[in-house]
Subunit: 321 residues, 5 copies
């Protein structure tokens, strides 16, 4: 579905174009075209391939979806795939945006995502002195918008991790904690899948040999790269912390078990002693003088209670109960 | 066993050849030969070595089988080994395809696999403008076909993992889960064995110095490389997840044990108390007034039941039972 | 907030400047300006950007804060971010210092930190022969001061780790140890976050291609780099040790549990035997000769005590009790 | 001890030499000398050093033994150390072979190994067209022979691992499994010690800058390198699998323990209930009507058996027994 | 404290010098000076700095101590720090040696170590043909001596590890084993701290670009490098083995616990059955014919013993007892 299609000259919008006019404007040296599509049909993509002369393999990737993030050069044209990661309740939803960047055009195709980039276009149009840098700057602006979406996701992860950590040493929470940590780790891995390949690819857009189209905006790409490195190092730290937290949770289980075992042992001892006493006075020996005493029974009960009480206190003091 | 042997010119099949005609056509500059064998005998391979002038070491590897995936240059000729990984019930079966690619010939030898590449040949013959690129394109088409076979395998692994994850926190499933995870990990490692060396080798077929025969099809090999990188990163994520899942399974065992221990402790306490009560009234003291009461027995039973019931409720409320 | 603003020539202070005079002195070839700010407002930063002609992206990073440590080149100017890590009771507090280093100026902005760098300025002014090296040396002096602050932090970590290790094999300390190790690991990771990116960036300030501004002070930056490498290797060793220590703590839990289980088993055996004996003599058989003996009861008690005592000793000797 | 000493020209043996004749033949440009020693004395080595003009450091290493595998260049001469790994019952025995390869000589010294390389010499002499390649080919042949000895070792490891895996989930086998896995891991590490450094060194004998003496046999060394890479990747996979298997073994212990605990709990419950019943009817209340019934005892026994039986069945159905 | 100070020409000692004469001899082109100090005061170091013209930063490091091993170039002079690791009872003591190597001098400063290098000087003086190579050779000789000291340490570690392994599967040794493994790991890490940075630094003293002073002794430094690589790979293997051994120890704890639990369960069952029997015959039913039998008691005891015995045997055969 076509969202937007316009030609720009010197950082200022010339005109909104229909799809058919694209090829006319492409021939003009002084302007560039910015097209935005979403959830495209095969027919739309083929139309675009024709207008812009895109490479078969890239178009097939864009149509297919489900690519890992990457930046590929096909002659002068860059083909870029990025993941759109959004928090969707307790789940993560992962959309995809494919971008073709040529000397004088930018074509973005967004799939399976509720995010839109209208704000990016509006902001670019408000800064004509930057938009004048051409398609490379538009590419930067789109990439920056995508990467900015990762920050709230990682913040969300961090607060989720902190809330788990608050209960890490709570009794009886181990199973819930581990399940949540496992869940969180899966989500972190999803984000990592979006970030790491993009970071590696973006690292090639500044310094060293840089594709023509990005050469005048290198410092901007270094900034994006820097953001990705920051996100990545946070992700790595989280993975490490989650692993340790699972290990620690396991330990709390064992320790809790120890405490229960001690209680079990202590109560077993108390009852076992009471049983032995009643057993003794339940024996049928003929000559057991205390059985004849008037207050024998009361004394016996007191003795049992006293002994059990003493043992109870002993365990209490040893912290077993 | 010879499957197929044909000469092509300008992307169009010239003729099906007999083995003896190969050398005649090899001398012609304007065409290339594409031979497909499977489960070859030593004699067949020797015949081919003679016709195409293949290097001893490469031929020995092809005959021997059980190589790790690799791409080796012997002069102008590439020698390629790839693994064919197929799901065979609960097991993985691993076949092997060896490919010799020269300036004007492609020779593929498939061993221990039910897959065939007739579809590859048919598709190539339907696209003469691509087949015109020569033996390098045929090599790409074969490699692409092999790599495409890895996707259903990894999808299968992923759904197997998901189905294990669904039961990850189920009671009493830990042993089964762990056994399945261990099994799955072995299979993932088998696939990794097929993918990683091939990925490394394919990375040298585009960019930088590229073997002559692949130089006009670099973008295609980059595409294959990209697929392999994607599979590899999925494999790495799976390995990580499987390890964590085993760890988590271990935790559920401990946690379940805790629950059992608590129940054990609770019931032990209840019975122990009942035993103590019966023990007390079973003592043989002469003066135990309650023993003489008409409803003493009933009261005693009620007391025992009441006390045990109270303790039961207490444990119930503390979630021990 | 402006702390300090002065111009230097030949290693000697020329004059304290007001903000407005900065641009005048910047034009003079023979001196450099050193400005120190802290907890700046947006207005202050904008003013500075104007005076020194700083790059938009760098200024935005400085204003924003919460960057990872880095050293970036914008034309001739270096933009540097470092973390100030201070022990704040049981917590770590992490501040940030952003430094702009140009051919003839140094601008440092310190945020969220109680540390100040007045000492650095004083020391520099006492060593005019070094200060003569210009803005590169000031940059070194600041960096050296920041890195020197990491040493007491890591020493603190090490003594914390040692005090945990002293209790590592103590009974009943496992939970506390693990909680402390987990806490310590989080803090170590925070410091690592400050150190590793800075180390990587500093590695590019000596040997190979070095930014103009640092070229005459390379040996000093190698020294700083060396300190960072040392801190980093200590951090790595600590992480490794902490992980092992958590593992070991887990083991002590299991071992302690074994000991408790043995005691439980031993006492259970002793009481069970006593119960069986009393049960036997509590049976109602008509002909049980010992029941009629005058000292039968006493003998019975002695037998029970003797048998239980023997078992007790047996367990004692087997180290179960 | 001298095993063999001969001069070759054009791939054909000229003559068996005595040690004294070596220097005569070394001066001739058209032939090379192949000497094999084993378990040498210091005197023998010194004699050889003199004849071939070997470097002090290399000779000291050869005399000393206990080196890690390596390939070092001393001027035109290569000094090579390889480990001979043989299965010796349940143990691995590790011998060593040191090889000096010069432009026109090969000197091999074998220590602490029962393997011999007579077969290598015989095979070389049967293939004069390859032996004609000179000392580089002899070096390859020896290396190939050494590396070929690693394959049966790794096969042996794999079948040992498989036989452990067959018992991995067997009850009560955990300790034996873990001990065997630990043992196996030690042996794998020994083999890895032999393989990894040799692989790294061999990687420098083809492609890039290659020592003079190996330049005409590069493809052969690539083949050996390939074998070493294959062995190494198998070793890595085994290490990973062994670690996982130990982890899994640990899990089976916990799971088995759970099962035992459940049985323990179940039987404890059954006996405790029987005890409570007998306790009740053992109480001394005056008015307990059932005690007077003629079939009271039989009924009581039946009740006890019935109740215990029901509980038994309940546990049986819940899979606790 | 000055140990030794002498000038050498052509590998032969010219004269023992006083500190004041150093500068005179430094000016002569044909000789070099070798000074050895230990546990120096600040004054001594300053004196040396003056005589040899050493760089401030290097001198500060030497004075400060507590550096990580490194080799740094200051102009023509190398500054080297190495750790002296010695076994000191159950502990490791770590000393430090700093070496300055110039074109015509070597200055070594040894701190906190009982090792001395008199033997190195003596050996060098006995081999004038090597000492003729100059200060680079002396540097090699010192480094070789330091590295040689690591071998007995690692041998000691290995025999300690072996003696732990001998008890790895012993009952009740787990805690002691784990504590020893933890201790050993700490010591291994200390040695690793000494070895790894030195290895990395030494790798730059042969092949590629080599500091002037070492260029004629490259093969000797390669030999030292090789020793360090060997030590390092042994260390890595040990770390891996220790980790596995801790894991295995943990397993033995669990397995032992299983065994204890089984015994506990078995004895509990035996006593519980005896208790039930005595309970039955202790019931007060009026009509219990066996109570009236003359040998009822004896039969009852026999029945109890027989049943318990049978159960005992059953458990014995099932390997629970």
């Amino acid at each position: 579905m076509l969202i937007n299609c316009a030609a720009y000259r010197d950082g200022v919008k010339l005109a909104d174009l229909s799809v058919e006019e694209i090829s006319d404007y492409l021939e003009r040296k002084d302007c560039f075209i910015w097209v935005a599509l979403r959830d495209t049909t095969d027919a739309e993509i083929e139309k675009m391939q024709e207008e812009f002369g895109l490479h078969d393999l890239a178009v097939e990737d864009a149509r297919h979806g489900d690519q890992r993030p990457k930046i590929e050069e096909y002659g002068d044209t860059l083909f870029v795939v990025m993941h759109l990661v959004e928090i969707d309740g307790p789940e993560l939803s992962v959309g995809e945006v494919s971008i073709f960047v040529g000397r004088n055009f930018v074509l973005s195709i967004r799939n399976r995502s509720k995010q839109n980039f209208l704000g990016v276009r509006a902001r670019c149009e408000r800064e004509p002195e930057l938009l004048r840098l051409g398609s490379g700057f538009v590419f930067y602006a789109l990439m920056d918008a995508v990467v900015d979406l990762y920050f709230p996701v990682i913040d969300d992860f961090e607060s989720e991790l902190e809330s788990i950590e608050d209960h890490l040493f709570d009794k009886g929470e181990a199973l819930a904690n581990i399940a949540q940590l496992y869940e969180l780790k899966s989500k972190v891995m999803l984000l990592r899948h979006a970030v790491v390949p993009l970071m590696e690819a973006t690292g090639k857009l500044h310094g060293g040999r840089v594709p023509q189209v990005c050469s005048s905006t290198q410092e901007y790409f270094r900034d994006v790269y820097d953001h990705l490195v920051r996100i990545n190092s946070t992700i790595d730290a989280m993975r490490d912390t989650i692993s340790t937290a699972i290990l620690v949770s396991q330990s709390t289980v064992s320790i809790e078990q120890n405490a229960i075992n001690k209680q079990l042992a202590a109560w077993a001892a108390i009852f076992a002693i009471a049983t032995v006493f009643t057993g003794i006075w339940g024996m049928n020996f003929k000559f057991m003088p205390e059985l004849q005493w008037e207050y024998g029974y009361a004394v016996a009960l007191l003795v049992i209670i006293a002994v059990c009480g003493m043992i109870y206190l002993y365990f209490k003091r040893s912290d077993w109960l």
